[in-house]
Symmetry: C3
Subunit: 134 residues, 3 copies
């Protein structure tokens, strides 16, 4: 059994972190694996406890890896101001796979699925959830 | 064909790195994809050569990304001392997918599947292996 | 329906970034999920816009996380000069899952699948694409 769900999420960009757990959870039936994927090269997916202080901590870690203030080659070669967003997104990755059983995602108690939008402007993002199960 | 295996791993926390390759390998039959997932927001999964010096090198890289000595907002907003663990886990990610063929994981010779437990105390971790194959 | 495709990619090493989108795309029929995996502990997979300036930006970010100039414990414990490559690969991860529909990968317009080879010498890499679909 394979099912595909697609939905959109509006973000504010600039490492905006949006909890999409409920959208993924509501698609799940029986047992199997959910592949979650964000189309686009300036956003990524991961899991984290959705707690405001922690989301700020994660943003600060991305500042250390790929600072906003830095000049990126992408600005010169492509004329775009979002080199920082591309680098952070490539580091985080666009895909996540989460198993489920008895119609429930096997997440920990404090573990939420989040979209992280690194782009330098608000965006509407396409999320695909592909369910392989029985 | 979908099969699910769950097992627990005891860790010492503080970026303890535990090789779980044999547990995953022993579940595999025929050909397909193994999704490995750790429930919890302060641990992650990856592959690495399981060599003590290298594991120390990986720990030091995580110190650069998210230093242990830093004050995290999570301590103020949630009263927890493990902000460092959440940030590192969100960076690494909780899921890994490894194809297999003829009953064998398609890992490289020096490539082991490891659980990295970033929490600030020893933990018992739930690992799920979901096999889709034939 | 499960199908497996394997191909090799020659790289120059030293964080060489090679676009493998067309190889993955050409294997896809109908709808499902493609798991892409690189065998070996000194390379990884992600998605990025394949633009030379940006690839240089990504290499510079890896220099911050795991500098080339650093002395790695791996050199002392294993006698290998590629500790930097192992650490970067463990951070990036060896697997990627990309959904497809109507025979087309659901990538964004500027989102390419890339192999990043961190090893300190040229390598020939084995890539596995496992397709679960209908």
């Amino acid at each position: 059994m394979i099912r595909t769900l697609r939905f959109t999420v509006r973000t504010r960009g600039r490492t905006d972190i949006v909890d999409i757990t409920s959208q993924v959870a509501s698609a799940v039936r029986g047992s199997g694996v959910a592949t979650v994927f964000v189309s686009g090269s300036t956003a990524g997916l991961t899991t984290i406890e959705n707690e405001p202080g922690l989301l700020e901590d994660l943003r600060e870690a991305f500042e250390r890896i790929a600072p906003s203030s830095r000049r990126y080659h992408h600005a010169e070669t492509a004329g775009d101001d979002n080199g920082v967003a591309h680098v952070r997104a490539a580091m985080l990755g666009p895909s996540l796979t989460v198993p489920f059983a008895d119609g429930r995602l096997l997440l920990g108690t404090w573990q939420q699925i989040v979209l992280v939008d690194f782009d330098t402007r608000p965006r509407t993002r396409e999320i695909t959830v592909q369910l392989v199960g029985e």
